[in-house]
């Protein structure tokens, strides 16, 4: 966060571009996922503008897939409640990022919150842990991720079925690969290994009983609580 050698401090632009570079794996992962959403949304009766606006304004990932499945069958209110519930985990992620953005102007905090996803959270939290993240790098990560998701949706909704199955190119592993690398970066000591082991076991066990997003949040809460209580 703080620079020890102010005269060599990188410019705001170069910090932003560093964030863009950090976020490039997210871009790679979001493009095909956005394309898939664009395809599905148009197939469900959305126009190209509606599909693209949905991605650009909500950036809700799984919540958006859920929404197009539900809105066709059910009402507006139930769909909104369901997608809101799917996104409750961002309360936790946002709270975790709060100490890292305390000195940041309000409107930039707003932009950072707006581009907060599982993936941008993972990148920025890991970067902050190494003491390198600043508001410009975090905005860069958010911007390149948003472009990937929105542009992917636009391409997918324009191209229709002509683009075929993006999974043929192995992009289905882009985000798992990124999370694997981020996990390795977080394993800095014995307690981190213990927390990781606890969280992984809890997530897999819980996923037998509750949907994936809930298993993820509950596992993180359990592991963090155990690590805080047991010294």
């Amino acid at each position: 966060m703080s620079e020890t050698t102010p005269e060599l401090a990188p410019s705001n632009t170069s910090r932003f571009l560093r964030g863009v570079r950090l976020g490039t794996p997210v871009f790679l992962g979001y493009m095909p996922l956005g394309m898939a959403f664009g395809l599905m949304a148009v197939a469900a009766g959305f126009t190209i503008a509606q599909a693209t606006a949905c991605s650009a304004l909500a950036i809700a990932g799984a919540g958006q897939y859920l929404a197009i499945r539900m809105i066709a069958a059910g009402g507006l209110a139930t769909t909104l409640i369901a997608t809101g519930v799917v996104n409750l985990r961002y309360l936790l992620f946002s709270a975790t990022m709060a100490p890292h953005v305390s000195g940041v102007p309000r409107w930039q905090q707003g932009l950072l919150a707006f581009t907060l996803t599982d993936e941008t959270f993972a990148i920025n939290a890991a970067d902050a842990r190494e003491g390198r993240a600043d508001r410009f790098s975090m905005l860069g990560v958010g911007a390149v991720s948003w472009v990937g998701w929105t542009l992917g949706t636009l391409i997918g909704s324009l191209a229709g079925s002509a683009i075929g199955d993006p999974n043929a190119w192995g992009v289905g592993f882009a985000l798992p690969a990124m999370f694997t690398a981020l996990l390795v970066g977080q394993l800095t000591g014995k307690r981190e290994y213990v927390a990781a082991g606890l969280a992984a076991a809890a997530a897999l066990a819980l996923s037998l009983f509750v949907p994936r997003d809930w298993a993820l949040v509950a596992a993180a809460v359990i592991a963090a609580t155990v690590m805080t209580v047991v010294k």
Binding site: Y90, A177, T180, L198, L204, A223
Partner: protein, 108 residues
Amino acid sequence: MDPAIVWGLIAGMALTNIVVRATPIAVMSRFELPEPVRRWLSYVPVSVMSAMVALEVLKPGDQWRVTLANPYLLAAVPTALVYRFTRSFLGATVIGIAAFLAFRYLLG
């Protein structure tokens, strides 16, 4: 589909998403958090990442694949090694995708 309903859905989703994501940042960044809370929050990223990897690799697409003939699981190994030695997210992601394609091809 009725345009009013679709636009209503988009507006509603945009609103709930920004409220959920911005409220904790807006409230909690204004004051110093107590030490136990900061300690607790410091374990959230590693826990989330580990839970995410476990689910992505052993239960991809919500299907259990607890076997060694699992390209997700196998490809995670070179991905982790590349990151461990190069510290490059992009490099690890690209090698990971290549390894995934190779394993998926080899395993049929």
